[in-house]
């Protein structure tokens, strides 16, 4: 989100500069970013797409071809389709949970006047200092059949059999939610901070209760921020790798791990490329759709 905003401000800067006849300076500013985007992002995507049209022949690795059979395989095989739908579902659920959980926290942080505010923001960011894999390992000690949660519940006499949490969809959802939450909180917080507090008070003084105020004033003003936070969270979940592998176990396949397995374990680059492409396209299409919806809402 911020990258595209930067790109946008750079292009508008470029436009203004060129009008002033200072093309070279503008080019010097935009140049590095353009080169980086081209080489770092566009080129691999093009290559990946080309690979996805190749054939995989066991023993001969990758054979040049122009075929869509990798895509046909993906969309006809129930195993791969299940992984695809599972990924979409987990991403949707995580996004909803993240937004719902992040909003109250982000709101409190944004409206806080205490000198501890920065400290609290640091606390929100703190989990990001620990890598995803390490954190997932932490969840494993908590969720396992002999983990902290089950042992405690058993000790309290609330359960007689351990509850199976590890290697379920919920373990993955909880794990990814925990990973994404800080990003969503920070995104929402910065958006809410940009909304004049007096506007909320004006609504109250005109007779709106907090619920009505949130619905009629805060929500429409924060909508672009909510969209940004949600899209961010959705993209992160679609591409999650460590958390689904560690908390979901070998049976729980999501798209990220699937790509990895095809490339690194099965050495099937063409199919891996096709899976990557499906993943990327789905993410892009849904993101664009969400964006368009928000824009419409905003104009209409």
């Amino acid at each position: 989100m911020s990258a595209s905003a930067t790109a946008e401000s750079l292009t508008s800067l470029a436009a203004r500069e060129s009008r002033g006849g200072r093309r070279s300076a503008a080019a010097a500013l935009v140049g590095p970013a353009t080169i980086f985007v081209t080489i770092g992002l566009l080129l691999p995507i093009i290559i990946l797409f080309r690979y996805s049209l190749n054939k995989f022949v066991p023993g001969r690795f990758m054979v040049d071809a122009l075929t869509v059979e990798n895509y046909i395989l993906f969309f006809t095989d129930p195993y791969f389709l299940a992984a695809f739908y599972r990924t979409l579902r987990v991403a949707a659920v995580v996004t909803v949970i993240c937004i719902v959980l992040a909003f109250p926290l982000a709101y409190k942080l944004a409206r806080m006047e205490s000198r501890y505010k920065n400290l609290l923001i640091m606390l929100v960011v703190l989990p990001l200092f620990v890598g995803n894999a390490v954190r997932a390992a932490g969840w494993m000690t908590l969720f396992g059949n002999k983990g902290f949660l089950n042992v405690t519940l058993e000790w309290l006499g609330l359960i007689s059999e351990p509850i199976r949490i590890m290697y379920t969809e919920w373990a993955v959802i909880i794990g990814i939610t925990a990973v994404n939450l800080p990003y969503v909180v920070l995104t929402l917080q910065s958006v809410i901070e940009g909304i004049d507090r007096a506007v909320e008070e004006a609504a109250y003084s005109l007779g709106a209760n907090p619920w009505t105020m949130a619905r009629r004033v805060l929500w429409p003003l924060a909508l672009p921020g909510f969209a940004a936070g949600a899209i961010f969270c959705f993209i992160l979940t679609m591409n999650a790798y460590a958390t689904p592998v560690l908390l979901g176990g070998p049976q729980f396949v999501m798209m990220g791990p699937l790509v990895y397995v095809q490339f690194a374990v099965k050495n099937n680059w063409p199919f891996g490329a096709a899976v990557s492409f499906v993943l990327m396209s789905a993410t892009l299409i849904l993101t664009a759709a969400a964006n368009i919806m928000v824009q419409r809402r905003y104009r209409g």
């Binding site: 008070e201 004006a202 109250y204 003084s205 005109l206 007779g207 709106a208 209760n209």
Partner: protein
């Protein structure tokens, strides 16, 4: 349109006391201005009336009902914010209609009432615009229309003119005043602009340090300031420190003896309005007449200020109207200054009393 009564209203933020035991009665249709230096608790008082700040102690009664514990949305108070706080995503009409919708006013009634409110603030025809498409002055009037359309029991204004340029401010303050009279709406306004306060108010509340120093009309504050702070804050005063040595006799720090009306013996301050002082021949025959030396002459257009030293420690400013036939003294002139004993107000000197 209703009475507003504050009873011993206080607000503490941790160890700072923002407002201390403020009591105030605002009558039906009255325009009261809270005036005081920055940080004296004006905004906090206003926000307690609106319900945005919970008082530490005391009560707020609005239209006969104790609203102290009510949230803002259950009080019928219209507020105009310093930043106007218009809803940026709603048009002017939608902004003004908001309060009516919250009050479940029948849809058919909303449009005419919105149009009427916009007409009152002379914004008819701009209803379709978004706030960001309006000038500051127009936004201010939308904010006013939005607060008035709900027919509030009390209208609260927090420095409503501070974001307007000087020229516009002069017209808008008269407009607000006229509108307030016409609608007969109980109003409390906060400002630290003395001129604005004097022009708009029926009654003024002078605050300092969270406390009310004096409540009264412009004339009360000017002629009979309650203490040294008010005498210095509202208009200009010559303040002479010293002590009351006997009833009616005041001795300045510079050793001058002055006749005064009233005052209890002890460390005191005398306040003298510059335009109540006479100089030269005009000083003859007044209760007090002191010889002095002209130090500074300031030509201000409508009036002339003459600073006259009357003792090593005391200097007074005399303000005289600039008349065509007036004689203007020049610096270094020896000249008499005089005033009637009744022109001076005497206060006990709190500062000296506490430091002594």
């Amino acid at each position: 349109m209703a009475r507003l009564e504050l009873h011993q209203l206080s607000k503490h933020f941790g160890s700072t006391v923002a407002v201390r035991e403020v009591s105030l009665d605002v009558g039906n249709g009255e325009f009261v201005v809270l005036l005081g230096p920055s940080g004296c608790g004006k905004t906090t008082t206003l926000r307690m009336i609106a319900g945005f700040v919970a008082p530490t102690g005391g009560t707020v009664r609005l239209a006969g009902q104790d609203v102290t514990a009510l949230p803002p949305w259950k009080r019928n108070a219209g507020m105009v914010f310093q930043s106007y706080a218009l809803f940026p995503h709603l048009t002017v009409e939608q902004n003004v209609a908001f309060g009516l919708e919250m009050r479940k006013v029948p849809t058919a009634e909303i449009a005419p009432r919105v149009a009427e409110a916009l007409r009152l603030v002379r914004l008819g025809g701009l209803g379709e615009r978004l706030p960001r498409q309006l000038s500051g002055g127009q936004q201010q009037r939308v904010a006013l229309a939005r607060a008035l359309v709900i027919r509030p029991d009390v209208l609260l204004l927090d420095e409503p003119l501070s974001n307007l340029d000087a020229k516009l401010r002069e017209t808008v303050r008269v407009e607000i005043r006229e509108l307030q009279r016409q609608l007969d709406i109980t109003t409390v306004m906060v400002t630290h602009d003395q001129e604005e306060a004097l022009i708009m108010a029926d009654r003024l509340v002078v605050m300092s340090d969270g406390a009310v120093r004096q409540v009264g009309t412009q004339r009360d504050l000017y002629e009979r300031p309650a203490d040294r702070f008010v005498a210095g804050f509202v208009g200009r005063s010559n303040l002479l420190t010293g002590r009351v040595v006997a009833p009616g006799r005041f001795q300045t720090a510079g050793g001058l003896t002055i006749a005064c009306a009233g005052g209890a013996p002890g460390p005191s301050v005398i306040a003298l309005r510059p335009e109540r002082l006479a100089m030269g021949p005009a000083a003859a025959g007044l209760d007090n007449r002191l010889p002095g030396t002209v130090e500074i002459v300031s030509y201000l257009g409508a009036s002339i200020d003459v600073h006259i030293r009357v003792s090593t420690a005391d200097r007074v400013v005399v303000s005289q109207p600039n008349r065509a036939d007036g004689r203007v003294p020049s610096e270094g002139d020896k000249i008499d200054v005089g005033w009637a004993a009744s022109a001076a107000v005497v206060f006990a000197d709190d500062a000296a009393a506490t430091s002594a």
